[in-house]
Each structure stands twice: as C-alpha cells, then as structure tokens.
Amino acid sequence: MNGGLLGLAWASLKNRKATVLLTVFTLGLAVMLLLGIERVRHEARDSFLRSVAGVDLIVGARSHPVQLLLYSVFRLGEPTANLQWATYEKFKALPPVAWTVPISLGDSHQGFRVIGTTGEFFTRMGYGDRRGLRFAEGQAFNALHDAVVGADVAEKLGYELGREIVLAHGIARVAVHKHDDQPFRIVGILARTGTAIDQGVYVSLEAIEAIHLNWRGGVPLPGLRVDADRIPPELLRPRSITAVFVGLESRGATFAVQRVVNEYRGEPLIAILPGVALSQLWALMGGVERALWIAAAAAVLAALMVLLTTILATLNERRREMALLRAVGAGPRHVFGLLVAEAALLTGAGVLLGVVLMEGMLFAIGPTLEARFGLMLSPGWPAPAELAVLGGIWLGGILLGLVPAALAYRRSLQDGVAVDR
C-alpha cells in the first residue's frame, strides 16, 4: 500500500508546481555546476595526458620540470634557454634512444607559435593511443620555406594550401619585427588532435636558421637582405634547439637515460618524464581544483537547504491534508513516508535535471570547448564516480527530508483525524 504514497506525493507536488519547479531548478543548476566542474577537471587531465602520450622523456635546458613541460608541450610560457645541437646529437646516439624530435621555439604567426622541428614530428608525435599525425590536406614540409599548420590555425585564419604566410619574431601577439623577407608557403594542414598541436605552425629547423641569418641580438640588421634561394647549406645547420622529445626502445631504460642527461657536464640540462611532470602540475593546481569543487558542493548544499525550507514551509498549510489522510486510514508512519517520498522525488528530479542540463550544455558548447581548449567533452552517461556523487546528493536530500517528516509525524500524532477545523 506504500506504492500509493509515492503517487500521493507526486500528485501533491504537481499541485504546487511553481514552488516545486523553482526548487528543482535551483538544485538542478547546482548539480550541473558540480558535475560540470568534475567533467572539465577530468577531461583536462585526460586531454593533457593525451598530449604527452608516447613520449618517454622531454629534454631541455635546466628549469623546473613543470616549466619545461608547459613550454615544450603546451606552448605556455617562455623557454629559459636552449641546448646545443652537438649535445642533442650526443644524446640521440645513446643506445636506448629509439627516436627523437627536436623543437625550436621563439617565433610566432598571428599569435600562434612557430615550431621548428624535423619531419619526424609528424610521424612520431601523436595523441592518446595514436602515433603519428594525420594530415587533413597536403603533406609534411619538404622545401626550406614550406610550412605545416595545425587545425586551429587553419580554421581561425582561414588558411588553405598554397597560401603564403609571414612569420614574426618573438611570441608577442603584436609582432614588432617580421620575417617578411622570407615568406612561407603552406603545404600541409594537420587534422584536429584536440591538443596544443592544433595551435602550431610547423617549419623545418633549417628554416628557423634561415629566417634568422640576417639577425643579430634579436633584431634584423638593416640593409642586409638574404637571397633565400642561395643560402649555403652549412649556414642552415641548426646550432641550438629548445627541447627534444625522446622515445626509448624500452621503458626500462627511462631512468638510466634521465640520469645521463641530468648529470651531463657540458651544459645544465634536465630530462623529465611527462607523466611525472603532469602530476606535479596537478599537485600545483590541486588547491584551485579543490576550491572550485568545494564552491560547487556548497551550492548543492544551499540548494538542498532551499528544498528543505520549501517542504517545511508547506507543513502548516498541509495540516488538514495530513489529518484527512489519517481519517481515511493513514498512520503517522504513512505521513512520515509521504514527506520522505516528497523529498526523494524533489531531490531526484533536481539531480536528473542537473544531469540533463549539463548534457544539454555539453551538446551545445562541446564543439566550442574542443576547438578552443582541446577538451573533448561530449554528452554521455555519467561515469560511475559521478553516479556516486549524484547518489550521494539524492541520499542527502532524502536525509534532509527526514526533518520535516519527523515534524509532520509528531504533529499528526497530536492532531489525529480532527484538526481545529
């Protein structure tokens, strides 16, 4: 006969639509916030991990591991110093080293970073389980003034194959000096990866040397122009690079190679394990993440309090309703159950609405998030951990519902079937 209670609670709630909808909406928003923060947090971690998957070590000038990780992989911040080409060649020759991808940073194009690298960048780098980058159009650079652009660059700037572009010196958004004497031609557009790779302009290491031939101390020498077609090849050999991505024959050699790099006496270097540096980064971010989560949890708690208040506020005007229920045979425990059922329905509806709102939101802004931040947030069933949080909120709402239920229980014992009518 208690199946009837849920039906009664439902009918009673439907009768108070306005208040009920507002309450459920409040809880729904809070739940959406909490879920959204959790989703973004997890996806940010996954996305960052996807970006470094397959790379065993990153070598660069000595700095904090997180800093090296940020500027080499995520193109955030400035490199501290370079490492010598000769040094790079020494490490490249170490037996456990399977492959290397050197990168040279420092120039930009329309706010996107320019990465000088080798052809191996396109075959070795990847994301997630994928090794090697796919080209949406064209192919890797071949000639000196060939450039490959990431998906974001092509999309935002509307670039197509064959388009000529001019690189700028430095990474300031408004470039002071431009390498306009040596324009590049776009020969390849990379398929979208959802990582920082989408936001790069890729040229050969030789090209980086070429555009800086007539430069000294960061400014072009006046009056000295380079005839790009007649540069002697020995001048194009790279002298230094910013960092190296390293793949090893076997994971077991990781620490040995790392030690060799870290103890190298020629210049101060550091080799980092991307995964370790990432967890250091998350440790740094941990406080912020927790603060965000606590704020969202507080919002959920506040919404649950609103819900509690809503139910409590109705108790007085529903005394007659309760007495009537008792007259037709309800016990105080039914009255108790009715109010708990009401709290369960309200909280359940709020939690469901929160999930629906969030999925709807992801449906609406997911593509934008992916394009702008490389966060692959698509609508989908809540993960088990999320279900646990949602279940916890539902349980919390039901527990709070015990308060009005207990009050109504006591009152219905006093009132019996006849309130002062």
Binding site: G4, A11, E321, L324, A327, G329, A330, V417, A418
Partner: protein, 231 residues
C-alpha cells in the same frame, strides 16, 4: 454478530485541562442511525478521535465491527480505522490535488479489505468510485473531471460521503457534515446519505449541534447526557 460500534465505560481527560469526557455506553448495530447532539465544547472532536483510534482513552473499551480500537498498537488502530470507518467532516474533506474519483477511492489505498470489497462488488476501484459518485448525484461532475475546488460546498460534502461509503465500512462517522449547507442542500445530503448507508448496511453516527436535523433520526441523544462532562 457483533455490533458495528460498541463503546463501554469510556473515560478520557487531557493532562492539562480539568474537562473530561465520560461515555458509559453507546452501541450501534449494523444499519442503525444515531443522532448525537453536541454543542461546541462537549467533546465532539475528542470522541471522534477516540473512536478513530487517534486518541487513547484512560479507561473503557471501543470496538468497531467487533475489533478493539483500545488496548492495541497504533498501527493496528490505523488499520482498523481504515477498514471499518468512514468519516465525513464539516469542511475540507477533500484533497485538492486528487481527482474526484481518486478522492473517493482514497480509503482503498490504505485498506486492503475495502479495496477488495469495492473491486469485488463493482469490478474495479474506479467503477466503485463512479458508482458512489453517481448515487450521490455527481456522475456528471466525475465524468467531466471537474477539479475538487470547483465544486460547491454541497457537492464537496457528497464526494466526502461517497469516500466514507466506498468499500463498505461498518460505521460512517459524521462530524457536522451539514453545517456549511443551506436547508435544501442539507436535506438532499441527508436523503442520499441515509439511502446509501441503508444500501451498504453501515451504521451511521451523526454528531451535530443542529437539533433541526435530529428529527430525521429514529434515535437521538445528547453528548452531554450521554457523556458525563465535568467542569
């Protein structure tokens, strides 16, 4: 066969008030109609709560349909109230968020016995509710799905009577059910109530301050006489 309602040596007092209710004996057989005259302050609500089992007397015995409402646990009293009693109040008899049919069949949500009886006799709960609504002149309102709050007070009282009668309880308790009605509606209500109580064999205990109604009952008593009201 046991009486529909039997009260014996009933005594009740509120802990903090000098007033007390005493009722040496009241017996209603199936089909009996009894008018109980009770001006306000004579303990009508208290007696109602005692019979309904929502109050426990200090002494005495109450039985409905042969089952004790005293000396048994709360849940047992709740179940017996659900099974054997139909109650009509002066006003606010209906749940505004339920349809007419759902209001009438409400007791069957709490009493399996009444649900079974209603289904056996009419083939379904909805049919049972429709039957009583029709018998009380509300067939049209029920069919149109009129919200409870759109009914006149007289119509609402008749819905309450239908609810009290559904599933054939042993006793129908009425607490001033006609006080809010005009003379015409009052008489119509009583006619229908009597007819339906007779049809279902329920005993009717009608508590009111309105002596104008008393003549329509074969037996009348005053609550003051019947109950010893000590100041």
């Amino acid at each position: 066969m046991s009486a529909a309602l039997a009260i014996e040596g009933l005594r009740f007092a509120w802990p903090d008030r000098p007033w007390r209710l005493e009722l040496p004996s009241l017996v209603l057989e199936a089909g009996d109609r009894r008018f109980l005259h009770g001006p306000s302050g004579t303990g009508k609500s208290t007696l109602l709560n005692l019979i309904a089992g929502t109050l426990v007397p200090q002494a005495g015995r109450i039985e409905v349909a042969g089952e004790a409402m005293t000396g048994v646990s709360g849940p047992q009293r709740d179940r017996r109230r659900a099974d054997h009693l139909g109650i009509v109040f002066q006003q606010f008899n209906l749940l505004p968020f339920l349809s007419l049919v759902d209001n009438v069949s409400l007791p069957c949500r709490f009493s399996k016995a009444r649900r079974v009886r209603a289904v056996q006799r009419f083939g379904g709960l909805g049919e049972a509710a429709q039957h009583y609504l029709a018998a009380l002149g509300l067939a049209e309102e029920a069919r149109a799905g009129r919200p409870v709050l759109e009914l006149s007070v007289g119509q609402q009282q008749r819905v309450a009577a239908a609810r009290a009668l559904i599933g054939g309880p042993a006793v129908v308790l009425c607490d001033e059910p006609t006080s809010a009605l005009d003379a015409r509606n009052r008489d119509q209500f009583l006619d229908l109530l009597f007819a339906e109580c007779e049809a279902s064999g329920a005993a009717l205990l009608f508590v009111s301050h309105d002596l104008g109604i008393a003549r329509r009952f074969p037996h009348q008593q005053a609550l003051g006489e019947l109950a010893g009201v000590a100041a």
